[in-house]
Every structure is written in structure tokens, then in C-alpha cells.
Symmetry: D4
Subunit: 249 residues, 8 copies
């Protein structure tokens, strides 16, 4: 007989974090087995109604059916490598918050989508503008006009390679910009290093940064800001817009 | 006769940036002569009513009297290494926004103060809690209670060495945290590198980061958020609190 | 005929190291063939009664049966990637020493288990507390109470990502903490770099560090301390607790 | 009138840390003004009887007389760059713990002395062996014989340049070794980087590491171990040896 | 008597390099004594008619009078830290080549000026546009219109901090851009590292890069291109523009 | 129904870039699906007559037939990992520009070929000299003679390992050299880091650099220079040389 | 018809290098196809009698039979990853030079063997001492006695992890030591970085270093020294020892 | 009374190292006080007849007279920053060994001179060729002819910036080359990093490397080789050449 407590009993999960911090706990799937990922998702969704896993590879995602019962709805988004699990009939209530997500290149879209999905799970509306990188800066004009005319109160700007888009955008709008460097690029400064440096060196105040490829963190931060802004509005007239819930999957 | 246009004519200053981006342009004094710094401050203050310079060393600051006329009021804050210049009788109107600034150690206070001064110049109220580092985590309890009971809508958390304070704080509160690594520390990971890495690696969503020692950027971002939140409130009942203007210097 | 001495004769193994240093030599399997690993294990177990290999992949482990005779007992722990080999009927005598191993996240458990197994092979009792990371710091309270009430004389604290757990723990207990950064994390500071830096920059004296993922080194150090403490006790009344020997496998 | 709480009231000092963690808080003087250093020393010494500051430069040290009253005794050790302050008649009680400090080269002695002074302030006896680097490995023989015959229960081994001494020593003794890389060396791997890497890569289990030049941390850790060992001895017969107190200055 | 050849005889200077490579040899003053700098300048100017030294500090520059005879004309440009020496009555013949130099911030101007002076010494006409950084991208419009309407055939674009200006410019013009990162910036990616990475990662083909602060190399390359273009024009009608010669100093 | 605009509508492609910048947009295939690569190639070739993709792996290339209709001609160059797509009967008009491409070692040839193909698509003639590294510097003599006697107006010099070839070549010729470091090499400075550093540190003015393995950027820059030079020639008598068009595939 | 010279004609091989430099050219197989490797080997062996390829993987090696005719003898050494090709009946004449190769751990043996094979191909005799790392320094005694009593005139010392063996050895012998760091190790300083730094920082003059895993370079250098020493001996009485030729394979 | 052994008694100096290793111990002055340097020099010179200190700054050197008695002769070489101390009438016996020292640029000469002085103190003859960098490779021809015609048996080649000279030289001569990178250069790869990488990546076997600016190590290694070669010559007919002794100062 083993003298040790079983490993299962030792691990403790933080189910009340959402109430305390405004962001639900998510499962970072990288380095976990599919079994571990689905078990954690099930526990979190049972407690919170909805749960998110990021960096899920196809093999991990493929183990779903065996792991979840009929009381859950699952959506596996291949592009963003996320899995969302809802308790049946659970809906994320719209908060009235609104953000925008911009991506510089095609390779930045998966990270941008991770940010969008995260924000939607927090009840935010999300506008998307992709392939608007600085090598052709005239492509930014229309999107920024639309954003300025909207109720968007925070921007997520995703860029790899030289990573200059967040700086350029921040110089042209009035909202906070959350920059997300992506691990594109090659050679010196590749894998996101140049993009991260660029954003941290940026001379544009009002720009903050999350780690390379951290779409989840950026989406959560932007949604947190937008939700706080929306919560302080007298009557939130914009809560009718579509929200992310299981039925629309 | 020189065939070139005079250098003075070539340089152009961005005076309308505040309207466009919500943050006034500041002068980064490092690497400039005192004369350049004061000239830029004068131009900015003439146009905007108030102007800020960061990273000002005593020698640069000492050249003030010769450079500015009687229509300006100057405050040189030695601790934060900032200089603020107001046009006489100009006041920064309170926005009703409120933030809090936390600092882990004594060496982090100058950067924290740079953030505070920046936010106050943007019309924000600022609460300060210094010397609350994680080596004695029980010291955090009182400050976080006060913050949770206030109208604070964004936190600036400043930490050097191992830089873990922003993560710990973000796990305990409901607002966005702007982490500022400082260039304290020594040996491997010194000069702020460990602190920056820690904040970017943080497992706490809702935490974003600015570059090492960038108190100005953090204060501007937090104030921008708080001002947006305050602007969306129906009747801002908290605008009576003290604000930073020349008369209170 | 080759003019050179055979390679086998050239290599020399350090069988008496345990007597001299208090820690048995272990086989670092990475970069070795399965055959090399098992041959070394056999030699060491023959001489010392027990032998440990770390970083063993499934393919290396699968070659066991062919390599070892009936006079040995083998345990392959998949989670910690270790293989332990005992001479039949050999038992590790309990020393009365006791340590605790804490792990911040799920991904840190394999390294924590490597530390546990190492310490148990040195005759130590090991308490385990996993999934107690700083993002939810309230989870630490119970474990630290238990530890303080026990005979634990050294702690191994394993953490990846931002790596702040050892600092927090060290600020709350009276024993030496051996911090082990793990190669989790991504982007800037990933692969354990941020965690290592954080631990080395820590402002908590009484915290020392081993290299990234080096659970073996941390377990050996903690056990060495605990064994030294136990050896100096007048009558060791706690030697009845369970120990790691072949029969319990 | 300023709307802010005075900075003095905000800063909080951790006076009870010693009881909780076994190591007294020390003042890291680098980046602080002499005034700040002496003020902190005075507070700590008033509360604990004795206080230590590290990395004190001559200018900071020179401000002592003005800052401290007659009820304190001061010792400024130029070589180790430390300042120790005792309340008059306060003595550090000997614990019976004993450690040894080894240094590879002349340039490593200041860091070694910082470790020694720290350990002595924690009541430990300290043996010193300096200039025993690996380029002439025969010089190690005598010291290691002496250590093995003593009650030393932990070693601090300080080395810069290639930093191999702790590994060599750990391979020859039975106690835990705390390696301290120093910021000597030049070119590639200079400033302590090579020494730190070497120690972390070491193949000798039972060796742990603190950051570059962190003599304070190493001394505190070794003394903590030695004190724990001594505390578990039935009758500590070795408590008569000399201790560090103001009268011996 | 020394058995060695005198050091003076050993050193050999490459006076014919201009004919072979199209760029005159310049003296990199950093790390040389003022005496060495002036001696090398004198030899080069004697042979080539004109000579340039870069990175000259005031002390080195101050030793001029003693070192040079009356047959030379000297211009010390404090801003760009260059010294130019002409043989009396020597003029640099205009080549008809034309380049433009753009600088993002005030701190980038010294490097931009080093590029301008170098190009002028190679007979090029130089247009300058300073303080046109990307934080206020609308400031670029006028300069780029002027450049497109001119005979400029290569651009030098100087930027520190995040270093994105060369990419933006290259996306808007039809000429080769030589990017020069400058050692401005602080924290992560400071000292020009972020700017260099950004330029190398740039997604804009037709942008090449020189090392941090290497205004000389950028100016030489741009002038070499412009001179080659000008040399292939049937009748160079633009050679009347002003050139850099001693008389205009 | 999803509230979001379809991803396809969001992405915008920059078809007019060639007119504005002199270089056609290319598709960087790394990290894209084969389907994405071919769709982009089709759009670009439809608009511009010809399109290039770089870093194409065999699997991506293999999806061609399904993706393109009969109105296109495709050439997949395995060595350089490029795919070129022409509209049927489209020819790249020769510009009269001429460049040379030199490669130090066998491993550098793929990058050199990427540069060649890029330049040919811009209408340039390209001379190639491979395996002329500096370990046997006498091999450079013949090639450089040929180049000096030609109309070549820019050089691409490709080198990995220690990367010294561009410096040596630049010291011996009169044209601009574009250095391309390649990701060959191993150990310290491997993966192109040493080669990049060497080229940036080079003491040979007139040498500029692109990122590691960026043959496309180097070829585009050299061709842009050569085309500008050719365009300024009164009567381009050398436009009869062979050009890259679909018929020659 | 292509306007370019065929690639085969462009590449030039340096067959006379041996006469000029004392070391035959070798083929670095990494990143080359098997076909390229064997073609180069054939050319070199045809010209020089013998040829060596390093870093050959099994797949490359497996293509031998198809590539070489009957007039060659091949030896593929799996451990050292080398392939040697001799023209039939070609023998490497013994030079009388003698070196020794020491390796610290099992993982260092492949690199050590690459050094041995290289030196033997240059006509040197090689003594081998493996598994003599510094964690058990007493194992060095016998080997160093043997070496001191021999005609060995240069040592190759191979070590990974912390890389301290060359320093220790150099402090105990009278010959030049060529240190070879190997890419063993993990975490901070892994992949050979710590070992390389340690050797470069070494305080033992008479120790020089080659790049990580460069057994070929170390063996060539040591053999070059030993051959020079042997060539200056009046009558080389030790040339009867075994040499590496095809017949002994 | 202090309970500690005096520091003086603890430090031990390695006076017999020369006999064991062929190189006299030298004093690395950086980070030592002038008093420490002179005391060590005196001890070493008393024991060995001659002693060398490197990296001596003028202030340290200026303390000579007070420190040494009349029985010593001192030579302070400002350029190489060395101090040599001889016992009166002590001469270094010529060994008949001969080396050559080459330096690429003016800034490399101090390091080259440190190598020369070291080798001469070991009884070697030294030829010097300075300012022969690769930007003008034709300058190498004459020196290499002379060297090939001499009895030189090892080369020290010193280079900063891009550091390619040792590779080029090694490709053209038959002796071992010891490459010494120097800490010249700026920006990316500055402070010797690029030069060190280049030398380690070099494709020229027979080239080994010492750390940045380590002229002492390179000179010692080259002299050790040359002395070994000379010792094996039947009758050393070249021992009449000048040697470094006090009388020639």
C-alpha cells in the first residue's frame, strides 16, 4: 500500500476565480494529455456553465466524445486551436461591452481568433479587421473610421514579424491598445522576439503588451475593460447584439 | 551659405496628439540637452496648457529659469525625475477616473511616482500603496480591501527583482492590472529582465505589461481606462477630489 | 587488430560516490541508448543495492527485460520518467528525515515526482502538495500549516511559467526552500527561463535554486539536508514511516 | 494641501520576518540613498537588536554618525561592503551551527566575506578557506580534510570566471554545497554568467545555487541549515565558540 | 636596442581604397587617441584631398591645431560627432547623385547627420526630413511627396526605439531604403536592439540594414547607389547644386 | 447566424504594391496551408501577370493542380523552395538591369537561388558564382574580374558559418553589396547568428544586410538598384539578354 | 535554353588545401543530401587518397554503394557519425606525432571519437581516456601519469554540462589543451553554452577552444601541433605505431 | 580577539605552476587594488625570477616605487597595459621557439602586444604584423611570405569587429592559428561578440580560439607550442635572437 495521498486528491482547482477576478479560468492544453484537458474542462464547465481550453491540438480535441456526457455542448475551433464547452442551455449573458481585434497578416489570425473567442465568452461583442499590416498602411483607414464611430472601448492588435501595427494604430485612435506579438518571423528576431520588443519600445503611450501568441490574455484584458465601461453606462442600449452561446455553435 | 534647410524648420512637433489619442505627448529627456527639453516643454505647454518631461536629470532640470518666461509654472519632482510645466492658471479638469498605484519595494517608488504624476495630469485620482512586495504577502491585505471598496477601475503595479507582485495582485482583484517591471535586481535577470519575463509569463489573465521602468506608459494607460469608465457613468459624483494643478505645487 | 584499448575498458564508473557525498550516482538517460542506460543501472544496483535513471523515455524503458536478470526488481514511473532498479530484497533504510515537495501547476508534477522519488531513495519521507500556484494564493494556507506542524526540514518547490511560488513560500515558512524552475511557459521567458530568473532574483534569503527541470538535484539536496538533521536527533522516533523499497512496488 | 497620504506612512517594514522565516531582513543598499539605508538600519536594529546592510558604498557608509544615536554600535566592513548595526549590549546568541566558506580567487573574497558576516549574524560559526581555485586543485586537500573532521553541516563555495570549484568540492565532501557565482571574468561569459551556468549545469547533486554575487543569500541559507542541524542535537556542546557581537568590533 | 621593428613601420594604411571601392576610408575614432585620429586624418587627406573621422569626442577634436599644418581646412561637426579635413582648395566634385535622409526622432538626428555628411563628401546632394516618426504618421505625407518628385535614388531612414519608420516608408516609395537603427530606447530591446530586429524582420522588400548607429555606412551605401545611377544618366543636368567643400565651412 | 463578417471578406490583398514600390508582393509560405498559398498566388498572378511564393515545402507545392486553372503556368523550383506562377503568355520585360549573386558554400545555394529568381522576375539579368568562400580566397579572383568587366551594378553575397565573404568581396569591388547570412553553422553563433553579426560589424562601407536566409529581400533590393541604374541609361543596349518567363520553364 | 552556367560548373572544390594548410578538407554533411556528400567524398578521395565526412546520419551513409566504385574503401563509424573513404591501397603515412583525447562523460564520446579519427587520418597516434569527468576527480590521476610519460604533445579534452575538465587537466600537465565543449546539458546553459563559456573563461593559460561539438577541428589542431613537433625531431623513432588505413578497417 | 584566521594566512599562491604547466602564473589586475597587484608580483618574481601582470591601469601601475625594493627591475608597458617585474640580473633564457602575432586594426594592437610580451617572457622570439585586416586583403601577402620562410611554428591572429582575419590567414598558412577576438565593434555583435562567433564558426580547421581580449592566453599557448617544437629540434641554432630581460628595458 502506498503511503502517499492519491495525486487526484492533491490537485485543487480554482473554481471561484471568475467572481474574484472577472475572467474565467482557462485550460492551457500544451503539455497536457487529452484526458487531463477534458477532465479539467468538464469540471470548470460544471461549475461555471462554460469553459475554454487554448492551444488544443487535433489529437487532444479528438478525445472529446469519450470524455463528456450529453449534458455538455462542445465547439472545437481548429483555426484558433480552442475548445469551448457549455453546459446545455447555458448562455453567456451579453455585457454590452464591445472591443475590436485587428490582425496584421494571415499568420496572425489564429491568435486574433483566440482573443475574439475569449472576449465573446466574457459577454463582449467583437469587431474584426484582419490583414491590415503596416506595409500597406492605407488599408487601415476604413477600419479605424468604423471603430471610432462605434462603442468599442479597447483594441486588441495582433502582429508578428516587425510588430509595428499596434504602435501605428495607437497613434490614430483614442482607446487603449493591447498589443499581441505573434511567433511568426524568422532569423534574427524571429519567433515573436522582434514583435514583442517593438511593442515594448513603442513611443505610443496607451499601448500595453501581453506575451507572444497570448491571444487569450489580450482578449480577456480587453473584454475586462469593455465590460467595466459597459457596466458604468446608465442604460446599456447595445446589449441586443449577438453573443456566444452553445445554441449558435 | 549652407544649401540645407535649417534643422529647426525640419523638426515638427505633434501638438494635436492629445485630442486624437487621449494622452498628451511627453518629452523623454534622456539623451537630450537641457535646452532641447525646455524648448519642447514650452511649446507643448503653450499649446496644451500643461506638459510633462520624464527621465530628467538634475542638470537638465537646473536650466529652467533661463528657458521659461513668467507665464509658466514649473514643478520638478526629484524622486520621479519628472518636470511638469503649466501655463499660469491652467488647471487639469478632474475626469472622475480613479486608479491605484502599488509598488513592491523602495527602489520601485520613483517609477510608481512617474505613473502617478502622469495619471494625475490626465485628470485621474490616484491611490498609492508602496512597499507591499510578495516576500511578506500579508501586507497586501489592507490595500486590496481599500481598493475593492473604491471606484478604482485600473491598477498600476510596479515591481523589480523577481517581479511577481502584479500576478499575485491580479489573482485577488477584479480590475485590469498594468504591470511595470523596474530595472532593479542584479546578476542573472537583473536590470528588470526577470521582472519583465515574470509578468509576461504570468498565468493571470487581465494583466498586461509595459517596458522596464515605463511608469509614464503605465500611468497613461491606466488613466485612459479610468477616464473612459468615468465618462460612461451617468452622473460623475466623485469629481470633487483633488487634482493636480499648478496652484497646489 | 586495433591498436586502441577497447572503449569498455576505458570508461570507469564511480561506485563509491555515495559514501563520499551522501547521494547515489544516477543515470541521466537523455542522449544515451536504452542499452547504455540499463547496463549502467545494473552495475550501479549491483554495487549499491539500488539505482536510479532519470529522463527515461518509453523506448529506453521498454528494453528492460532483456537487460536485467531475475535478481533485480524494476519500477518504471511514467509520470516522472524515472526507472528505479533494486537488487532483490534490498531495502532503503529510513533515515528519519522528512521533506515536502510543492508544485505550482499540473505541468510541474513530473519534475516534482522526480524529486520525490529521489528523496525516497535516500531514505526520506516526502509530503506532497500539488497545484498550489500563486494565481490563487489562498490554496497555500492549509499545506503550509501542515508543513509547519511536521518534522519537515527542507522544502522542494517546483514552478514553471513566472516561477514565483518558491519566493512566496519561503516568505511564509522557516525552512530552506530549494526552487526548481520547470520548462513550461512560452514566448519570452519560456522554456523555464523566466522561472529560473525569478527564483535567482528572489528577495527571499534561504531560497536556493537548481537548474531547469532538475527534480533529481533538488530532491537529492533536500534529502541530504533532512538526513543530516535527522542524524543529529538524539532518538529518531519517526523512522517507522513508509519507505521506498522494491517490495512496495 | 496634498490629497495624498505621506510617502512615509505608506511604506511598511517587515519587522517580524525573522520569527517567521529564520533569517533577519537585510537592507540591499544599491540604488538607495545613504539616508534611506541608515533609516532602515535603525528601524530594523531597534526592533531586532541587530541589522545588516549589503552593497554599501563608502559614501553611503560615511553618513552614519549623523543618522544613528548613541544607543547603537556600527561596524562598516569595507571589503565585504557591509554595514552591521547593533543595539548597545545586544549579542547574537551562538546557535551551535557551523558552516565553511571557500573562495576560488582573490576577487571572490568580498562576496565570501558577505556570506560569512551574514552567517555569523545568525549565530553560526564560520570557517574560511580562500584562494583554493581549481587551476591548482592540490590546494584543496588540506581544507577539505579539516572540514570533514569538523561539525560543519553546510558549505558556501564562491567562484567567478569558469566557476567550477563548487562542483569539484561537492564531489569530495558529504555536505550540501551552496554555490555563489561572482561577477568576475570578462568577454564571453563574463560578469558571472559562465560561473552561474557552470554551477547550474553541474553534474554533482547536492549543489544548489544563488544569484551572482549573492553572498548574503548563500550565507543565510547555509546558516539556516546549520542552525536547524544544531537545534536537533541533544546537547549542543559547541556553543562556546566566538560569536559576532558589537563588543568584538 | 629593441629587436623589434618600430610599430609605426608595421602599420599600413589603405590609401587606394577609394578607387577600388567607390568609398573613401574613414577613421573610426572610438577607442583611439586624439593623436592617432589626427595623424590618420592627415595621411588620408594628403593622399585623397579629403578625409572623414566619425565618433569623435570633443577631447579628441580639441587636439586639432597642434596636429595639422596650414595646408589643411578642418570642420568639426559637434552634432554628428564628425571631423572632416580638406587639403586647402580641394573640392569634392558633385556627382549629380541625390539621396534623402529621414530621421524618426530628435535623438536620431546625430546619426542622420553622420549619414548626410558622408554622402556629401562623396559628391551627393542630400535632402533631410527629421522628426517624422510613425507615432504621428500623417507627418510623412509632405516629405514623401517631395522625394517622389525629385531625382532622389536612395533613402536613408534612421530610427530608434521601435524602429518601424523604414518599413512604413519603404511601403510608400519606389526607391531602395537603407535602414539605420539607433541606440536609443531603454529596457527590453533598448540600445537599438529592437530597432535592428524590426528592420531585419520587415516585410517590405527593398529595405536593407546597417548596424546600430552606423550612419557612415548607410550614407556611403546610399551615395554609392545614387552616384552609380547618376553616372549612367546621359547628361547630368543637376550637378549645379551645392556641394560640401572646405570653403563653405 | 454568426454576427461576424466572413473571414474571407475581411482579408484584403495589396495588389497595387508593385507600382508604388517597384517590387511585387510575394507570398511567404511558411506557416500557411497549401490552399492559402495557392489562393494568394492565383490572386496576385491574375492581377500582376506573375507571382512568387517563397519557403514552399513539397507538400504545399503538391497541391497546385487542384488550385490553378489552365490559364496559368507554374514552376516549382525545389532547390530554392520557390513557386512561380505566370498568366499564360505573360512575360517579364527585361529591364536591362544586371546583378551578380555569389554564394560561399554548398549550403548557401538555396538562398542564393531564391535571390536569383526574385531578381529575374523583376526583369534583371543575373550572374552566378557559387562555392567561392573565404577559406580558399584565391577562388574569388576570376569571378570578381568578370563582374568588374560587366554591367553588373549590385551584388548579392550569400554566406553562412562565419559569414565573412561579403566583407572580403566589398573590399575588392566598386558596387554595393547586399549581404545575406544563412542559417548554416552550429554551436555558438549557429543558425546564422554569427554570419549576421559579422556582416553588420563589417568595416567595409557599401555593404548592407538583410535578415538570415532572406534571399528574396536581397534579390529584390539588388534588382531595384540595377533597374534604377538601367532606367537612367540613355539607350539600354543590353536588353536582349534572356529573361525569366513562363515559356522557358 | 537557360542563359545561366550549369550549377555543377560553378561550384569549385579546394583540392590543394592540404598542401597549403596541413589539414585535408572535410565534408560537413549536415544540411547536404546523401548524394552531395558522396560526390564530394569521391572527388576529395580521388585527389588526396583519403577523405572524411562528419555529421553523417545513417540515411546519408546508406547511399554509399550506389555512389562509389570499386576503387574505394569506405568505413562508416556510427558512434562518431563519420565516413572515411580511401582509394584502394592508399595508406596514411605515420608522422610520429602523438596526441591524447580525454572525454568527461559517456555523451561526450562521439565528439571525442570524431577528434581521434581526424587526427589518425593526419598520421597521428592517439591515446584515449574516456569517462574521466571532474565529479570524481581522482579518476584523472592514472591517465595524466601515462600521458606525462609519453610523447604526447597536445591534448584534446572533450566535456559537456559544466565543461570544467579542460581547465582541471591543463592545470596538471605541460602540453597545450584543446577544449571541445559538447552540446549536452539542459536548461540554462544547455546545448553546450555553459561548457563553451567555462572553457573560454578558464584561468588556465595554454587552453584554447573550438566550437561546440567540433571534434574535427580539435583533432585537426592537435594533430597539426603534434606533427609539427614530430617533424622537428632528429630521428623519429616512434613511427612504427599503428596508423589508420583502409586495410585495418 | 578575532576568532578567525588572518586573511593573509588563508590565501595561498601557486608558485610551482610553471614547472608543472610550462606557463608562469600571471596577475590579472582588473578588480584588484594596486597594493594587491604589486604584492603578488613581488612574490611571484621572487620565486620565479620574473612575473607579469595584465590589465594594469595607470593608477595601479603608479604605486610601484613604494611597493618594490631595489632588487627588482620593472617595465610598465602602457600600450599593452602590462607590468613586468624581474629580479635584478634575471634573464629569460631563449628557447629557440618562434611565433608571429598579426593584428587586424589599430584598436587590436594592445591585445596583440599583450600576447607578444607574454610569449617573449616564455623565451620565444616574436614577429609582428599589424594593420593587416581583411578589408584590404592584399596587405596580407608580404607578411605571410615572410612567415612561411621563417621558423615560426604558431600564429596569434588578433581581430575585432567582424573578426574574419584568423580564418583568412589559416586558409593560407601551414601552422596552427590562435584567434583572439577583441572587444572593439559596436551595436549588434559589438564588444567582441561577433569576432568570437566568427572565429568559432570558422570553416578553417587548425584555428582555435581564446576569450575576448585574452592576449595573455593566446601568447602563452602559441609560445608553449613553439617551445615544444624548438625543444624537439636536434640543435637549436636560432637561440641567439634577442630575448626579453630586464637589461633591455
Amino acid at each position: 500500500m502506498s503511503p502517499h495521498q492519491p495525486l487526484e486528491r492533491i490537485a485543487q482547482l480554482d473554481l471561484e476565480r471568475r467572481q474574484r477576478t472577472g475572467v474565467p479560468e482557462a485550460v492551457f492544453a500544451e503539455g497536457k494529455t487529452g484526458e487531463q484537458v477534458w477532465k479539467l474542462l468538464k469540471e470548470l464547465a460544471s461549475a461555471n456553465g462554460v469553459a475554454l481550453a487554448t492551444r488544443v491540438d487535433p489529437q487532444q480535441a479528438g478525445e472529446a466524445e469519450r470524455q463528456l456526457g450529453r449534458e455538455f455542448v462542445v465547439r472545437h475551433d481548429v483555426l484558433s486551436r480552442t475548445v469551448t464547452v457549455w453546459k446545455k442551455n447555458h448562455e453567456v449573458p451579453p455585457t454590452g461591452g464591445e472591443i475590436a481585434v485587428l490582425a496584421a497578416g494571415t499568420a496572425d489570425i489564429p491568435v486574433a481568433e483566440e482573443a475574439r473567442i475569449t472576449a465573446e465568452l466574457m459577454g463582449c461583442r467583437v469587431r474584426r479587421y484582419y490583414d491590415v499590416g503596416i506595409a500597406g498602411i492605407h488599408r487601415l483607414v476604413e477600419p479605424l473610421k468604423e471603430i471610432s464611430a462605434s462603442t468599442v472601448s479597447a483594441l486588441v492588435v495582433v502582429a508578428g514579424m516587425e510588430g509595428a501595427l499596434p504602435t501605428v494604430v495607437r497613434g490614430l485612435v483614442g482607446m487603449v491598445v493591447i498589443g499581441v506579438p505573434t511567433s511568426t518571423g524568422y532569423g534574427y528576431g524571429g519567433r515573436g522576439e522582434a514583435a514583442l520588443m517593438t511593442m515594448l519600445q513603442s513611443c505610443a503611450p496607451g499601448l500595453t503588451v501581453v506575451n507572444i501568441d497570448n491571444g487569450f490574455g489580450a482578449g480577456a484584458t480587453a473584454a475586462l475593460i469593455a465590460n467595466t465601461v459597459a457596466a458604468s453606462r446608465p442604460v446599456s442600449s447595445s446589449t441586443q447584439h449577438a453573443t456566444a452561446h452553445a445554441a449558435s455553435a
